[in-house]
Symmetry: C2
Subunit: 276 residues, 2 copies
């Protein structure tokens, strides 16, 4: 098993894969030849967050996703014990992400590139949509996104907004923030609303303090945004929300994607429903 420190984006590998098909990219990941971040790979394909849980918690986790569709847009779920995510492509969920995080009792244990040796007959894997989809749609509509232009990670914040709990899963909602020109805010709302599988419309527009964010310059995850000039802060529900919910449940064992090392599916990122 690889340790976390051995896994990094390899820019030469990334450049080589940048123009390759989803099949080539997945093969490189599966064979262990690529362990880097997935943003910009297999353009046009839906990428997804991953959570793997024992079956005894799967029903509650599905309820949690149903009750919180903006932070937790469920795009795929395996049969119990089956490592193949059939509805999203020919995907072996044990090997087809570049890196995983393994947690025991809510504590990070390791970040391997393959989890075949950890897979159990009672595991259920969940894929959840991510922001790449609506970000691409915003950019195609001529709305520049600062963190993309600057090649940074979007800033993410804890909020005072609460999720609707289910079993051991609950807690606060995490949001990501993008500064949108005042004149394009309504466009950004309308465009992102078309993608319920990618967090949908924003959960808040404007005053950060209204949702418990004291200082936009100090995100809880990601990179600080530049000074706010001529734009409105717009907040979308973020996939860190279910990740926190899973960790806070302190299950004996759970596995997620390593942040930014996503599941790349065969699904068209703009498809009405997330299926091949």
């Amino acid at each position: 098993m690889q340790s976390a420190t051995e896994i990094r984006a390899d820019s030469a590998d990334f450049t080589a894969l940048r123009r390759e098909s989803v099949a080539t990219v997945r093969a490189a990941i599966r064979e262990g030849g690529y362990r880097g971040q997935t943003a910009g790979l297999a353009a046009g394909r839906l990428q997804a967050n991953l959570a793997i849980l024992p079956a005894e918690h799967a029903l509650d986790f599905m309820r949690f996703c149903q009750r919180n569709p903006k932070p937790c847009p469920l795009v795929g779920v395996t049969d119990t014990g089956d490592p193949m995510m059939h509805t999203l492509g020919t995907i072996d969920i044990r090997s087809d992400l570049p890196a995983y995080n393994v947690y025991r009792n809510g504590m990070l244990e390791s970040s391997p590139a393959d989890i075949t040796d950890l897979w159990c007959d009672d595991f259920v894997a969940f894929a959840l949509g991510c922001s790449f989809t609506f970000e691409r749609a915003l950019i195609e509509a001529g709305i520049d996104l600062d963190h993309v232009t600057r090649n940074r990670t979007v800033p993410m914040y804890r909020t005072t907004m609460q999720t609707r709990s289910a079993g051991p899963f609950g807690g606060g909602m995490v949001v990501s923030m993008r500064t949108i020109p005042h004149s394009r805010v309504q466009d950004a709302i309308d465009i992102s609303a078309r993608y319920p599988w990618a967090h949908g419309a924003p959960v808040h527009v404007g005053d950060p303090q209204a949702i418990g964010i004291a200082d936009l310059s100090r995100p809880d995850w990601g990179d600080s945004p530049p000074e706010q000039r001529g734009g409105t802060p717009v907040f979308w529900a973020c996939g860190v929300t279910p990740q926190n919910a899973v960790l806070n449940a302190k299950l004996p064992l759970c596995i997620t994607h390593r942040p930014a090392h996503m599941l790349i599916t065969d699904v068209d990122e703009f498809a009405e429903t997330p299926f091949v």
Copy 2:
């Protein structure tokens, strides 16, 4: 327990309730004073199909809904054993529908107005969106719907389109058909696509035989449409699909709404996500 033959729409009761608030309508239903159909009641509120299953089948049923979001748009799910559907209003799922169907081993046993005496600690209730929502949106956009104008039931058909199965749940997709003027077909597609919680965009437009429907004049459920003149047959996924999947699974016990006797929620029927 009331037998099926005692339950019918009472037109005097219906007229009296037609302009009442959702709270008044629900109280009348809960107290047993109204046992009729729900179309047209509590205008503007989301109505939903109901399926109640033992917990041992709940995870597979949620997978079935996730894999088939067009016929099975899941808008609510209770905690195991809890009869309150908290996310959709102050709803006691045992008494707040006008009529239920009780099935044992896939066979209809009774159609009571209340299922409190049948409720078990291992039951999970599922609410699934219905076509009322997008029909209202189409009508508001000036697209007349023949079955509404004629006060008939929309025609529904078995098709050769298959659902994606999960555990014991699977089988063919059932569709409903509405004849749309040629010039408004794209509008009808675009408008209904805005409501993923209400079956979303059509699953087929045009030739019925392409999806295995031999004769539009002979629907499997509902009333025959008038002769096709100057319109295109447009087919949407239908809530009979999950009902058939549940019946075909031949569970020892399951309970659904009685057709057309829906769960009336507090949720705005045009809400982006189905929550109060």
